[in-house]
Structures are given as C-alpha cells and as structure tokens.
C-alpha cells in the first residue's frame, strides 16, 4: 500500500525544512568602498560579489537596520548617511548625519542612530523613525569610534586627538564619564554581555580592555609581529564573538588580524589577510568573519572555528567597512 499522500507530505516537509534552514545560511554582506563610491553586495553562500550600488562620496561606516530592511552608509564627503533599501538595492533616503560622518552605531532597539562627527567634535543623535537629528552631544577632538552598550544605556565614543573614550548617557544625552587612552583611539566594541569594552589605539598601537562599570582600563594588550616594524601595527576595527570567547582585531597596514582570547586577553594568532585591513563583520550565524582590506580591494573570509583565512572576495576600490544581513 503506497499512499501518494505520504510522499506529498514528505516532499512538503523537505521543502519546508529547506526553506527553514536556508535563511540561516544565506546572508548578504554589504561592503563600503571608500574610493569607489559604492557598496559591493556579497552573497555569503557563493562568496562572490553579486551587485554594486553607487553611493555618495567616500562611503565608510556601514550598518544594516535591525529589521534588515535598510542599509545605512556614511558618505563622508557628502556629509550625509544614505539609506539603501535591501530589497531593491536602491538609495531611498538620507539621514541628517552632520558633517563628515565616518563611524556610527545603532542602538539595540534600532530606534536611534549615533554618528561621530569628526570635524565638529560632536555626536549627532538621529531618530530613525522620523529620520531627523534630535540631539547633538559635544565630545573630544575628532570623534571616531562609536558603539552602543548592549543594554542601550550608554554610547561610547572615542576621540582621536583627545585620546579619550566618552561615555554618553543615552537618556540624558550628555557625557557622564571619560577614560583616557593610548594615542588615536579608533574603534570600540562591547562584549555581548556588556562585561568588557575593547578599544583600539591606532597610533598607541594597543588594545585597551575597559571595565564599563568602573570605567577604568583593566588591561592593555600589545601586538607584536616578528619581522614587522611596530609602526606598521595599527589596530583599527574590532569584532568580538557573541559568546565573548574570541576577539578579532584588525591591524591595518600590518596586513593581519589578531585573534585575542576573550578571557585571558592573550593574542592567540595573527591571521594574514589582505593589505591595510580596516573593519569587519561576522555572518549572523557566527561562522565567518568578513574583513575589508583597504589597499588590496578585497574582503578576506575568516573561518571562526578553524581560525583560518579561507577565501578572498574581490570587491570595489578601497573597501573600508562590512555589514551583514539576511538575504
């Protein structure tokens, strides 16, 4: 007795299974190309560039909205953040970022976007619903790195010439504490549980591990690569795994990404990537880290489990940042 209905049901189940599992693998990476004035769209299944979106002048900071519907990209020389519709891959709007936006951060709820205005010594707060600037907070000279704490209570912004991390209370929208850091602090990242704040110093050459409650530096990590001039080691972007066990620090012109143990803060490994690696992003499943190489016009794909660089993907001219959403 063969019931075709069983087959039909089985078939449907397979299809259902396929469509259920498919989204967890299929991601789309968006890479900002600083010189190319474009965003490369990369399919993380085929690991290939599938489209290029023209943007404004000098796109750098890039993020996907929490609902995945939009990509925000800072067009620094056009003094705006452009909004790209992920479905149509067209620019559908702009955000009033203030002058020369570079890095920006979204709050966990996806309601507000915080922009570091390098030329203005300020952080601009943008309401994403109304797409209007709602506040401007004065910070140090040349604000650069910016991140929102996992609980959404604080924005941390680094200022390059002032060499500080400023803690901004998101409710009061003012600076409530400052931490002095090594020269030219660049990027900041929280562990997902909020227990640690990592900040790179591009010229100081190190990574500061800051305790967000005491707001003091609890450890300074140094990078030392045999055979390489110390001036070549310029830490920039940081990506910490969701479980907080590993941190990846992009070391700019040393052409390497350092793997740092999340618990001991020892440097475990230096991964050779492309030239002048800037910033990166994990695929949402945490399996891969994509890192943008500013001089070799490609993105290195790092396998997080094996800590190996498994592929490089050609993108546009002088890639700077990566943001990843679902397909």
């Amino acid at each position: 007795m063969i019931d075709t209905g069983v087959f039909r049901q089985l078939g449907l189940a397979i299809i259902a299974l396929a469509s259920m599992t498919a989204p967890s693998f299929a991601f789309t990476a968006y890479v900002s190309n600083e010189k190319g004035n474009s965003v490369s769209v990369v399919d993380t299944d085929t690991m290939a560039t599938v489209a290029t979106i023209k943007t404004g002048e000098r796109p750098r900071g890039i993020e996907v909205s929490r609902d995945g519907k939009f990509v925000f990209v800072a067009a620094g020389d056009d003094n705006t953040i452009q909004v790209i519709d992920t479905a149509t891959r067209k620019i559908v709007g702009e955000l009033p970022s203030g002058p020369d936006p570079e890095q920006f951060a979204l709050d966990p709820a996806g309601k507000f976007l915080y922009v570091a205005n390098e030329d203005d010594a300020a952080v601009t707060v943008i309401d994403l619903e109304t797409r209007k600037a709602v506040a401007k907070v004065a910070v140090g000279v040349e604000p650069e790195g910016i991140v929102v704490s996992p609980d959404g209570k604080f924005v941390v912004c680094t200022s390059e010439t002032t060499s500080m991390a400023h803690f901004i209370d998101t409710a009061e929208r003012k600076v409530v504490a400052n931490v002095l850091l090594g020269s030219r602090p660049r990027a900041a990242a929280f562990k997902t549980d909020g227990s640690e704040l990592w900040i790179t110093s591009e010229v100081g050459g190190g990574l500061s591990i800051v305790d967000p409650t005491t707001r003091k530096i609890k450890k300074l990590v140094h990078f030392d690569i045999p055979g390489l001039r110390s001036e070549k080691i310029q830490p920039v972007g940081i990506n910490i795994t969701r479980d907080g066990k590993l941190g990846f620090v992009h070391l700019g012109p040393s052409n390497r990404v350092a793997v740092v143990d999340g618990a001991t803060h020892e440097v475990l490994k230096y991964l050779l990537v492309g030239q002048r690696v800037w910033h990166g992003a994990f695929t949402p499943d945490g399996k891969y880290l994509l890192a943008a190489n500013g001089l070799s016009n490609d993105v290195s794909v790092i396998d997080v489990a094996s800590l190996k660089v498994i592929k490089s993907i050609q993108v546009g001219e002088l890639p700077w940042g990566v943001a990843i959403g679902s397909k």
Binding site: D100, E118, D119, A121, A138, G140, V141, E142, S159, E160, T161, T162, S163, M164, H166, V175, A177, N178, L180, S183, R184, V203, G204, G205, R229, E231, Q234
Partner: protein
C-alpha cells in the same frame, strides 16, 4: 547652573514639606550625587598658560603665494590651545596662549622674564638660533622650558644643546636625510648642488652633503649663487631670471637632479623648468622636505586641515603645524600626567611613556639625548605630498625615524 537650580528647587520643596522623610532622603542623595560629580569634574579647572615667543616673519619670498599670513605659526598655536581645551573640558584643565614678539637682534631675556612673571613655564618659540640660546639661558633660572618650533640649526641639538629646550622643528640634517632617502630610492644618485651665499644656506648645503655621503649619493658638481641684494621680484624680472638660471646651471657635468640649498629664498624658486639640461629640482625648491603641506590628508590629517581652515580661513603651513605640535605636547602631557606642575610635566614629557600623535601615521617621541622630536619628513612638490620618509628599507635598531638626522652614537650633545 541647571544642577544648582534643581538643588534649590528640591531644597525649597523640602522646606514646604518638612514631614516628608522620603523627600529628605531624596535631597541627601542628591547632595551626595552633586558632590560626587563636582569632585570628578573639579569645580575650579587647573589653569595652564603657554607662551609663544617669536621674532618677525620674513616677507622676502620669491613666490607671492609663499608670503606668510600675519598669524603664520600663531594660528597653529591657537588651534592647539582649542584642541587642548576640548580635552581639558573633560579632565578639568584650561589652557591659554600668551603671545609675545620681539625684534630681530633683541635680547629676549626681558620677554622671557615677563612670561615667567605671568606664571608661564612652557614657551613655544620661533626664534633664530642665537636668540633661542639667549632665551633658554635667561629662562633657566626661572625654570622655563622652551619648545623650539622654528630653528633648524644642528648646533642647537649638538654642541649648543640645552637641557631646557625641546625641539619640535626638524633639524636641517633630518630634512636633508628625508629627501636623500627618497632620491636614493629613486636611484637619482648624481646630484648637482647649488647653494646660496648666506650662512643658513651654507648650513643646509652642509646637511645635504652629509646626507649624500650617508645614503650613497654623489655630488657631481657644486656651485654658489651669490646674493647681490635687490628685490626678489621686479616687473621685468622674468626675462633676466631665465638667463641667470641658464648661466648658473649650464657648465655642470651630467647629473640626475639639481639639489638647491637656499633657505634665504634668493634663487631656488627660479630653478624649476629653467635649468640648462632638463632635470628635476629638489631641496629648497621643487621637491621640498617639510613637516606639513596644505595638501596632506593622510592618517586623519584631513580633520586637522578642515579644523584649521574653518577657524582661520587659510591653509595650514609647516610653521603652523610645528607650533600646533609644540602646544599640543604640553596639553597631552597635562591630561595624561593630570597635573599643572611644570617640573612634573617636563619629567613626563622626557619619560619613555610620552608620545604625541601629530597625523604622521605613528606616534612621535623625543630623543632622550637631545630632546629632538622624532618625526617623519614629508616631501612636497608644491601641490601634493610626493612621499613620506623614512623610506621602506632604511632600517634602524631602535626606530626607523632615527635614520633621519644625527643619531645617538654621533651626537655631541651633553644635556645640562
């Protein structure tokens, strides 16, 4: 202000409702909170005054474009004060610049003492070597620390070095070495050296000869251009200059590049495109070693250029950058050492912990044997930054930056 108003309001509320213990607690907690905040920010900021002592700016330039603005240098110092104060706002420090100018040949002692009387310990200077030494010696008894942002003379860092003088301006040897490394890398090794007749020109020529020997270039011919006086520019000058430059350059044996030593700006600016044989020019014209140029945009420099242009409506010059760096050194030390005590600040600046970021792609530190700031040298063609020295491959056991200028084993400086 707002905080105090709120405090008054809550105290007023408190007096209206004397029985409310909750309100009382509220006020107590509020007072503690206010006290804590003012402790952490420091109600009265620490004040640091920085002096800027300088002579008149030379207006004798070959190109109209090069005639300095009245605030050349001063503007750089003022911007650094702004930057120091932005940081100072967060650590409770306030900086002020006191500008003091003297005439050529004046004894600077009175000016130094006047600055010291105002409680100033750090004085950035743009003075010729002689006046700088007079100022340093006059200030020694008062505990004054000078930051030389103008004079490139080797002797200030060598036999005539002073323990109370920091050098932010690169020396002539550093500039010449920065240029030489690039020319040697390009394999332009045969140099035709033309120098001016003034002392400073001769000193720069000496630095270029030293650099040639050090990096393996060869000076195939040398010539002097005598300054016979007269105006830099005249209405019919172009015709005469064209002939003069041919005369000056036609007898030389074959060479790769003409290297000019003309700090006095008498002739070098006339050399490019006017030489007898078609050769590039470097040194005091053509490809010029410098600390800054208005087209430089690497390593975040664009932000500084923008900030400067917004405030002063002109381009930032090398002298502006040198003064910016001098004043920022004091600010950086004050915020990191968290003190206004001059002796402590100076000790921190001289310690291995100190470094300053000045948009050169790496931290800049002081050579402990003569207090010279280590720094990359930019090579500028008048429009763009052509290259930045040290060049790849010029190695050093301590810092690649020490391939520029006289190194520790060669120094004649004994700091005292």
């Amino acid at each position: 202000m707002g905080r105090h108003a709120a405090l008054h309001r809550s105290l007023r509320n408190l007096s209206r409702k004397p029985h409310s213990t909750a309100m009382l607690w509220h006020a107590v907690i509020f007072c503690i909170a206010v006290g804590w905040i003012s402790m952490s920010v420091a109600a009265e900021p620490q004040r640091i005054k920085i002096g800027y002592l300088h002579g008149p700016l030379s207006k004798e330039k070959i190109s109209l474009i090069d005639i300095p603005a009245a605030n050349d240098g001063l503007a750089g110092a003022q911007l650094a004060i702004d930057d120091n104060n932005t940081t100072g706002r967060f650590v409770g420090q306030q900086f002020e610049l006191i500008d003091s100018s003297i005439k050529d040949g004046d004894d600077p002692a009175a000016a130094v003492n006047a600055l010291a009387d105002q409680g100033i310990a750090f004085i950035a200077t743009n003075l010729p070597a002689g006046q700088l030494l007079q100022a340093a010696d006059a200030g020694k008894a008062r505990g004054e620390i000078l930051i030389n942002a103008g004079a490139p003379d080797e002797r200030l860092r060598e036999q005539d070095c002073r323990a109370n003088v920091i050098h932010v301006a690169p020396s002539r040897f550093m500039l010449a070495d920065g240029l030489a490394q690039y020319l040697v890398l390009k394999k332009w090794r045969r140099w035709f050296l033309v120098s001016g007749s003034h002392d400073s020109d001769k000193l720069f020529a000496e630095a270029l000869r030293h650099a040639a020997t050090r990096f393996g270039a060869k000076i195939v011919a040398e010539k002097e251009f005598k300054d016979t006086g007269g105006a830099r520019r005249t209405d019919s000058g172009i015709v005469e200059v064209q002939r003069q430059m041919i005369d000056l350059t036609q007898s030389a044996p074959d060479y790769d590049i003409l290297v000019a030593a003309d700090e006095s700006e008498v002739f070098a600016g006339y050399l490019p495109y006017r030489t007898w044989t078609p050769r590039p020019v470097a040194g005091s014209a053509g490809l010029v070693p410098t600390t800054w140029d208005a087209a430089f945009d690497q390593w975040g420099a664009l932000q500084l250029q923008n900030r400067f242009k917004k405030r002063f409506q002109r381009f930032m010059t090398p002298l502006d950058m040198q003064l910016w760096t001098a004043v920022r050194i004091v600010g950086e030390a004050a915020s990191h050492a968290n003190t206004t005590d001059a002796a402590k600040l100076f000790a921190y600046i001289k310690s291995p912990d100190f470094s300053i970021a000045a948009f050169k792609g790496q931290k800049l530190t002081l050579r402990d044997w003569n207090l010279q700031l280590r720094q990359p040298i930019l090579l500028f063609d008048g429009r763009n930054t052509v290259s930045i020295s040290p060049q790849e491959g010029f190695l050093h056991q301590v810092s690649e930056l020490d391939t520029l200028g006289l190194d520790r084993p060669e120094t004649k400086c004994k700091l005292q």
